[in-house]
Symmetry: C2
Subunit: 335 residues, 2 copies
């Protein structure tokens, strides 16, 4: 059985660990989000690809969900001592090596997909991990930053008030530095419209028996992957069951701040609204948490087969049962 | 009093620590060797500049003489796990940050001299540290590598034997990886003939009251600095006392493998021969160790004022006394 999974970071990676246990013989291809990639200290950092790679390869810091186990932050401490930031992005000493190797290979002319394959040769994640694209895509968030001073600019007049500054900032700055604490008005995957799917992406989708959307962020993770021209169409046209798992439980994200970016794209933070956001043109089946059993009727009415099952990934066995439920729903859709 | 010191790595740095204690009110300008700089993992590494900066700034690993105190090597371990080398060069996690900052600034267009000044703004070494040049100079060593197999190449005939391979390798490969264990035939500061002294170098020499050659390697440290066109001439023409301290004690280098590179340039490993190598056209005074008291006569005969004093830098006070002896000898030369 060939399964294609579109994945962001922590949520996608943990789901994949469960999926591997639930379907040990499946050939799993992971199409990873690269919209939250960032250039720091001259290095190309790919947080989502690395979270998948480390999680499935046994190198993840399990408690925090990202970064390496047995990590130290001496390099970062020293950069800060030199006054070189940003300090808000947590690059550990071990993690740094991954970015050094990646940056050197990219500099030597290898595309990111080949680099990712080379890095995975060490980690052996047990899945084929492909970045959504070898082209540069960078998710920016249009925000209103709070005003720094109380007074408006000269000539603003009495009515200007302290409206704050409109700016587009890198997703990581919004997510990690600001903890999504400022109003977001739009999420823009800059460069996506010019990007091409990486080699293997469309082929994997065309050859898939099942396509899964794990409980990753529907806007900045899966939404960004779907923004690469050709990927959404290939999935919709694949003619195989497409099943997703809600990252929203009880009206709130299981982790992270998906509610903030859902609001930016005008989607309410409910399991049903996310399913409708994907739409029946894309999604065949949708799992919601038992806490959201009331949503089943609405999702079903939208033309998407839906069931309520436990969706909290508290441990590996629970996560594997979620994956089994998704595969079962996929087979029901197929039948 | 303005003192200019030409410095390599460990020997130069330790001497400078003593000189600062011996002459606390002096303005000391250090012209640092950059011929052993190396590009590793996409980063510009300047071992000698950093050793001076860390030693005088309180960040050095005192036992080994290079690298940072409280250092870890997690990044390097991870690079090795990816199969990315070289493994023989010891880049620690804290040390790595210095190279990251340097490489970013160089990439942004700052010359190495400005970068070094910026790094020193953190370390406050108490001296003005200037690289000998902002241009790229890379010391290569012509060596005979031992033959890998016993058989000569096809067609070599019976007489070819196992002569070994002639190659020019980077100084660090010769010094650190091979521990100077293969025959060296020549030492070539590649690029030196096209290099210009960094801003401030010739000015500092012209304004100096005393110029010192610490017990650094006379070939690959001080010799490389002198190979930058204009520096040797400026020193010889400065009209102030030029005093050196022998790095050779009892016919052997105090540390390192200076004997190997001295042999490559046809200089015997004795305190007297090194003084003659610099020559009376450059050197006014020369301190040898008490173990080499017999050399005083030969050096004096070569037109260089010479005295035997303890030259082992066993601790800071001893080193400060060495520096005092050098300053005293300089004043005798002047008088």
């Amino acid at each position: 059985m060939r399964i294609v999974v579109l994945a962001g970071g922590i949520g996608g990676a943990r789901f994949l660990r469960g999926l591997k246990q639930a379907a040990p013989d499946a050939e799993i291809t992971v199409i990873g989000n690269t919209g939250d990639d960032i250039h720091l200290f001259g290095l190309r950092v790919c947080p989502d690809l690395d979270t998948v790679m480390y999680t499935l390869g046994g190198g993840i810091n399990d408690e925090q969900g990202w970064g390496r186990t047995d990590e130290t932050f001496h390099l970062k401490e020293e950069l800060a001592a030199y006054g070189v930031g940003p300090e808000w992005f947590g690059l550990g000493d071990r993690d740094f090596a991954t970015h050094v190797v990646r940056t050197q290979m990219l500099g030597a002319g290898y595309p990111l997909s080949a680099v990712t394959e080379a890095l995975c040769a060490r980690w052996k994640p047990g899945v084929r991990l492909i970045p959504m694209t070898d082209d540069r895509v960078e998710t920016h968030v249009a925000v209103t930053l709070p005003p720094e001073g109380a007074e408006g600019a000269a000539g603003d007049g009495a009515g200007a008030g302290a409206a704050g500054e409109q700016r587009a900032i890198h997703f990581q700055e919004y997510w990690v530095r600001l903890r999504a604490s400022v109003p977001a008005h739009a999420v823009v995957p800059v460069g996506a419209d010019q990007a091409k799917p990486a080699p293997g992406v469309l082929e994997a989708i065309a050859e898939a028996d099942i396509i899964l959307f794990p409980p990753s962020n529907p806007v900045v993770s899966i939404g960004t992957i779907l923004a690469v021209p050709g990927i959404r169409e290939a999935i919709a046209d694949a003619g195989v069951p497409i099943v997703g798992l809600s990252p929203i439980v009880g009206g709130a994200p299981v982790r992270g701040m998906a509610d903030k970016v859902l609001a930016a794209v005008g989607v309410e933070t409910t399991a049903a609204a996310v399913a409708e956001h994907y739409g029946s043109g894309l999604l065949d089946g949708w799992l919601v948490d038992t806490a959201d059993a009331a949503a089943v009727e609405r999702v079903t009415a939208a033309g998407i087969r839906c069931r309520a099952v436990p969706l909290m990934m508290t441990d590996l066995d629970t996560t594997a049962r979620m994956a089994e439920e998704a595969l079962t729903l996929a087979e029901e859709v197929r039948a």
